[in-house]
Subunit: 374 residues, 2 copies
C-alpha cells in the first residue's frame, strides 16, 4: 500500500513536489532510484547506500529469479538488509533483451542495425506468444517461460513496496506495425497483472508505444483506465533527449494527476531536470554506479575521468561543492591512484560519490520546484 | 620516533603485553598489522579499516615506488587519509620475488622445484650485487636498481612511522652456503640503512638466516648489536609451523628485550597464538583480506567457504560470537549470494569481517597474557 500526496505543482512546467508514503517510510519526490540489480547497489553495503541519501532502490526480478532464486531472496528487504522502500521491475526488459539484445542501445545510437523490425517478427533466441515469452536461462540454457502471472508471482515473493507490470520492451528500430501489435500484448498483460496480484504491494502499469505520438497516447489512456497505483513509462528512452521530451509530452497529459509516475531506466545528470520538468516523480538509472566502475566521477560541472594520469597530481576533492563522505576525506590524486592501480576501494569511493551527487542534485531540483524556479 | 613500553612479560612463554607510542597514536601489542600494499587495504576505505579495530597498517615500498611513484604518494598518511600509525616494508621481498618468484611458496609446500640453490647462484631475471639488486620494472621492463640507500630514501618520502631495513629475502630451497653469503649482504645493508637514514622514523633491522639455527642466531646477534629501534624477523616463514617455532626459538633470546619485534608476512588464525607465545609483538599478513576476496570467512572455529551453495539457505551471521558490523547486519545467505553473483560488496563484507575477527582474536590473546593464561 502506498499513499501519494502532491505538495506543489509547478506553474512553469509539469514538475511537481510530492511525498510517497510506504510501509517502509516516506519518500520525497521527485526522487532518483538507484539500481540494486542483484539485491545490491554495486560496490556498496546497505548502510553506505543510506548515507548517499538514497530513499528507495529498484531490484531486478529477472536476475533474482536466477540468482539466488526468488524463493531464496524472498522478503527482499530482510534478505539485503534494507529497511527503506524498495521497487522491483517486472523482468520484461531483461527477457526481451535476450531476444533484442543488440537493439537496446542503452543511450547510444545503434549503428549496427538499421533495418526495420517488421510486424509479427520473431527474434531467434526467444519466443514471444500472446501469454508471455519463452527463453533460455543465461546460466544453463534451460527453457523458461515468463509472462504477467509469473512476473507478479516472483515480485510478490520478493515483496518490494512497489512492483511493475510485465510488458514488452520494444527496440527502437521496430516498425510502427510491430509496436501496434506489441501494445496489444502489453495492455493485455497489464490487465492480467492486476487480476493475478494478491498482495497489497503497489502495482505500477507500464506505458509503451515507442516514439509514436498516437501510440504513446493510446497506451497512456488505456493504462490510465485500469486500477494501477502508479505508472511506469518504458521503452528505449535514452537515445535522444528530444525523443524523451516528446514521449513525456505525449504521455503525461493522459495520466491521472494524483498517481506517481516513474520513468524506467533513464537519468544522466543532464537529463534529470528535463524529465522532472516533463512531469516525472521517480526515475532509475545505472549511470552513477556504472560510470563509477569505469573510473568516472560526476561533478556539478560535468565529469572527471580519474583513469587519467593528470589526476595523480590533483589534490582537490572530486567536487569541492559536494559534502559527501568521499569529498570530505579523499582527494583526486588518491582516488586516481586507486583506479589506476585497480583497487576495488576506488570503485566504491566513486560509486558512493556519484550516488550522493545524483541524490543531492535531485534534492536541489526539489528545492527549485518549491521556490517556483522550474 | 617511537617509545615501546612492556607492561607485562608472561611467565609461561615469551609472550609480552606492551604499548608502542608513535606520533600517530598508541598501539597495544601484540598487534596484527593489516596489509595496505598499494596504500589501501583491499576493498575497504580508511574509515572502515578503523572500524575493524586495526591499529596500524603496513604499506609496500616496492609497489608504491612504481604506482603512483613515491613522490606522488609522499606523506602516505595524508595521501591515503589514514591518521593512525603506518609501517612500510623495505621492498626487499618484492625485488627478490622477481628473481625467486616461484620459490616463495606463501605458506604452501612448493612441489615444483626441489633442487638446492647453490652458493653464488644468480637468478636469471634480477642481478644481485653487493650493493643491491638490478631488476626490470614489472610495468614497462625498464631497468631499476634498489639497495639499502634507495629503499630508505623511498621510505623517508613515504613517511611511515616505522620503516624496515633492506634485506635479501632468501627462498626456502637455498643451500646453507647461499644463505651464509646472503647474510653478509643483508648485514652490510643493515648498517648502510642506519647510516643513510636522515628522518626520525623508527627503523627496524631485519634478521634472516632461513631455517638454520646457527645462522639465525648469528643474524640476531649481529642485528641486535646495531642501533635499530626494533626488529623484523624475515624469511619464508609460513611453510611449516614447526619451522616458524624453531626460528623464533633461535632468534628471540638474542634480541634486546626492550625493543619491539615484528614477524614479517605471517599470521594465519591458528598461527597467531603460537607466534605471540614465541615472543612476537607485531605481525602482518594478507591472509584475512586475500582469503576474503576468494569467498572465505574466518570464524572462531575455522572458516566458511561462502562460494558453496549450501550457504544460500543459511540465515545465521558469519559468526554469532562476532560483534562486527557485518555479523550484526548481514546473514550468510546474503553474503553467499553476493559472492556467487560476483558482487564486489561481498568481497568488502568478508574483508571487513575477517580483519575484525583477526583483530578481535589478537585482542583476546592480549587479555590472555594479562590474565596469565598464556
Amino acid at each position: 500500500m502506498i499513499e501519494f500526496k502532491i505538495l506543489k505543482k509547478s506553474k512553469k512546467s509539469e514538475a511537481r513536489l510530492g511525498v510517497l508514503r510506504t510501509s517502509h517510510g516516506l519518500i520525497k519526490t521527485p526522487c532518483f532510484v538507484p539500481v540494486a540489480t542483484q539485491a545490491c547497489v554495486k560496490t556498496l553495503d546497505s548502510q553506505e547506500i543510506l548515507e548517499t541519501k538514497s530513499q528507495i532502490l529498484i531490484a531486478n526480478t529477472f536476475h533474482l529469479f536466477f540468482k539466488p532464486g526468488d524463493n531464496l531472496a524472498k522478503n527482499l528487504h530482510k534478505f539485503m538488509n534494507w529497511s527503506k522502500p524498495l521497487m522491483t521491475d517486472s523482468g520484461g526488459f531483461q527477457v526481451f533483451s535476450l531476444g533484442f539484445g543488440k537493439d537496446f542501445n542503452f543511450g547510444k545510437v545503434n549503428s549496427e542495425r538499421t533495418d526495420i523490425i517488421q510486424k509479427s517478427y520473431q527474434p531467434k533466441s526467444i519466443k514471444i506468444t500472446n501469454q508471455g515469452v519463452w527463453f533460455s536461462s543465461p546460466l544453463d540454457g534451460k527453457k523458461f517461460f515468463m509472462g504477467p502471472e509469473e512476473s507478479i508471482k516472483i515480485q510478490e515473493r520478493l515483496g518490494a513496496d512497489i512492483i511493475f507490470a510485465f510488458d514488452e520492451c520494444t527496440p527502437p528500430r521496430a516498425s510502427k506495425e510491430y509496436i501496434q501489435e506489441s501494445l496489444i500484448k502489453t495492455h493485455n498483460w497489464a490487465r492480467t497483472c492486476l487480476k493475478v496480484k494478491k498482495s497489497n504491494q503497489a502495482l505500477f502499469g507500464i506505458i509503451q508505444g515507442s516514439k509514436y505520438k498516437d501510440l504513446r497516447k493510446q497506451s497512456a489512456i488505456f493504462i490510465n483506465s485500469l486500477d494501477f497505483d502508479g505508472f511506469g513509462i518504458g521503452g528505449d528512452l535514452g537515445e535522444k533527449k528530444s525523443i524523451t521530451k516528446n514521449i513525456l509530452k505525449n504521455t503525461i497529459p493522459y495520466l491521472d494527476f494524483k498517481k506517481p509516475r516513474h520513468l524506467l531506466g533513464i537519468g544522466k545528470l543532464d537529463d534529470i531536470e528535463n524529465i522532472i520538468k516533463g512531469g516525472i516523480d521517480f526515475f532509475d538509472c545505472t549511470v552513477p554506479t556504472h560510470f563509477a566502475r569505469n573510473g568516472i566521477a560526476f561533478i556539478y560541472s560535468g565529469y572527471l575521468d580519474l583513469r587519467k594520469r593528470k589526476f595523480l597530481k590533483d589534490k582537490n576533492p572530486l567536487d569541492e561543492k559536494c559534502s559527501c563522505f568521499v569529498c570530505q576525506n579523499y582527494k583526486r590524486n588518491y582516488i586516481s591512484h586507486l583506479i589506476r592501480a585497480k583497487e576495488i576501494t576506488g570503485l566504491k569511493l566513486l560509486s558512493f560519490h556519484n550516488l550522493y551527487l545524483f541524490n543531492s542534485f535531485v534534492e536541489k531540483t526539489r528545492e527549485k520546484i518549491k521556490k517556483g524556479l522550474i
